[in-house]
Homo-oligomer: 404 residues x 2
Amino acid sequence: MVRRPDALQPVPLEEARQIFFDALEPAHFFELIEEEIFTREALGRIASRAVFARRNVPHFRSAAMDGIAVRAVTTLHASAQAPASLRLNRDFVYVDTGDPVPEEFDAVVMIEHLQAIGADGVEIRKPARPGQHIRSVGEDFSAGDRILEAGAQITPEAVCALLSTGHSKIWVKQRPRCVFLPTGSELVAPEKVEAKELAPGQLLETNSVLFESYVRRWGGQAHLAPIIGDRALALSEAFESALDNFDLVAIGSGTSRGRDDRTAALVREYGRVLVHGVAYHPGHPVLLGIARGKPVIGVPGYPVAAWVCLFQFVQPLLERYAGLAAEERPAVTGVLTREIKSVRGYREFVRVCLEKTAAGYRVHPLPGGASRISSILRADGWIEVPEDIECIQAGQSVRVQTLR
Amino acid sequence: MVRRPDALQPVPLEEARQIFFDALEPAHFFELIEEEIFTREALGRIASRAVFARRNVPHFRSAAMDGIAVRAVTTLHASAQAPASLRLNRDFVYVDTGDPVPEEFDAVVMIEHLQAIGADGVEIRKPARPGQHIRSVGEDFSAGDRILEAGAQITPEAVCALLSTGHSKIWVKQRPRCVFLPTGSELVAPEKVEAKELAPGQLLETNSVLFESYVRRWGGQAHLAPIIGDRALALSEAFESALDNFDLVAIGSGTSRGRDDRTAALVREYGRVLVHGVAYHPGHPVLLGIARGKPVIGVPGYPVAAWVCLFQFVQPLLERYAGLAAEERPAVTGVLTREIKSVRGYREFVRVCLEKTAAGYRVHPLPGGASRISSILRADGWIEVPEDIECIQAGQSVRVQTLR
């Protein structure tokens, strides 16, 4: 048997993730830099400091209804039998919702509860309670109230609250700058080629699309480097420049074993390889490293392998970077319609599509190995087959982690 | 009692929505215009046509493993006892994963299963099956395969599949252009004011933030018009220009009854008022209209009222515009911790926050009426109290529609 000197020694998934995070912690990777941005552009960002109201909302006493502002005491004995008669500008003024209530009045009576008496008089038939239908100062937010906790994600409602309480700018955690370096002289950018022009051996580079889309969804900035051929110098230069300019470097490292070795050598030049090969399918030849304090991920070249790698390493990394608790992926339970086989010692990610029936979900495993984009295109989610299970039979109940 | 001539006759929620949609249907509002855009920028958009593969993926026979390409027939009798000896360039060539497999070979043997014999020979101890470890032409997508249905939302995986099958551009439904016109001379843009500069009677305009954030989330383009004061001519001009340039016009119509009337008059000038007043709280003075075939929504001024209006009318409108089935809002069930009172004949939207306990969710109603941003800031979701229920007691199990 032709053994390669560096045959991968796959590491169990959880252990691999732990090794990776443990190496990044002392490198201060998870300590984010903050930046001040316009609140109106902060949707989805993570507040880096607690925020407190700078003003009272409302900042003046105002009418909560259309009607008249009165002194409650002048209405004290009003009843249906003996209505109180009030005169405009002496006993009351008209107010619309939102209008300031003049200092001398302490209640608002709704216009629906008034009886007009001549041009400048009204009658009311019920006493007004002091404070009635008046929005008091600070009733929504008092100056000094805590509006947001540090670490909170900014929602549309938070943007409203921040703007209302005097914060047109806000300190947020910087979004990690993540770059994808596609490597391999066989790769071609899809936009650069027409249907007929593809030569045998050429491969369209589409893993960057997955990287870009998901990194943005998970709160990172995604940048795509141009395709880098196989020359060692070009690779080395691109990697060094990536380490200078980005917080996380992903190397699209081709699908063949030779490519893997090259990525490992490249990472060793600038830092350390922590894990090379993780015990799962599809996509075990993942590389996890650290260089100049920055995480480096060697992303396997097969599309499904790249896809699994993003969910298993990039998502938890970005969530921890943002200070968010790892997101619990929505899951459903259903009945498996075809047997699944798996290799002992490896976790298997089986892409499935879901069929909703009256009796619950039916779970259809999707055909095809790591190379098939069609199996992720059609996937509603996946089943994780544990390392010690070799087979799940049709008819069994399985838990599906859903994508959308 | 001082009755206003146009006191609102509130319409039940479902009926209001139906009246609105029924008026828009013949106006062709739901027939979207399509546009061709770059596939790489199409994430989240809706395909307006079915898409079919323009090429085979892969477009050439390739090695699925690192190893050697052989003629299966030459390995037919190979066994551990009698290995087959093969010579380089006569019986086999080396291939890496992804390499084209030359025409004359029909199987790949993994490098792990080879025994090197001298510099240009190998031995194998097992027959190779024809086709083994070869990715055949069109195995992922065959030219002509349907990649996407018309009406499908474009996922990261779909972008990959489209680029791979020769579609660097794609026809998608145009995103509806939605505009928000904040009206009222008391309104001030939050960015234009410092904490101390707010005068009594002034109100910060923040409903546009909710409109903008949620319209984008639901697939629309959101535009904000500058604040329009109370002059009839300015309002009329702004509305006319909005009808010329946008597909959906929302008028932030202030909080007072007088303002409502003005919005209604404005809509009548250019089209029809369909519904004025919907039987729910908070925020019943919603106006639904149609002008020049376009939906017009009078959004009540109180923040919570504006917020409910967005979920009740703008979201279903945009979902239907996009051709998506109305999204089923994620919901949880929990135990109510405080009594809720509601007005008979009105549906009540009660903002709540959720507390997760070992025994399940505890559901805390949030204090405050329609004017309090704090009640939507803290909300995890809401309870809908049906029209015929006046009270839900503490301890009852309730269904909470969750926001995030």
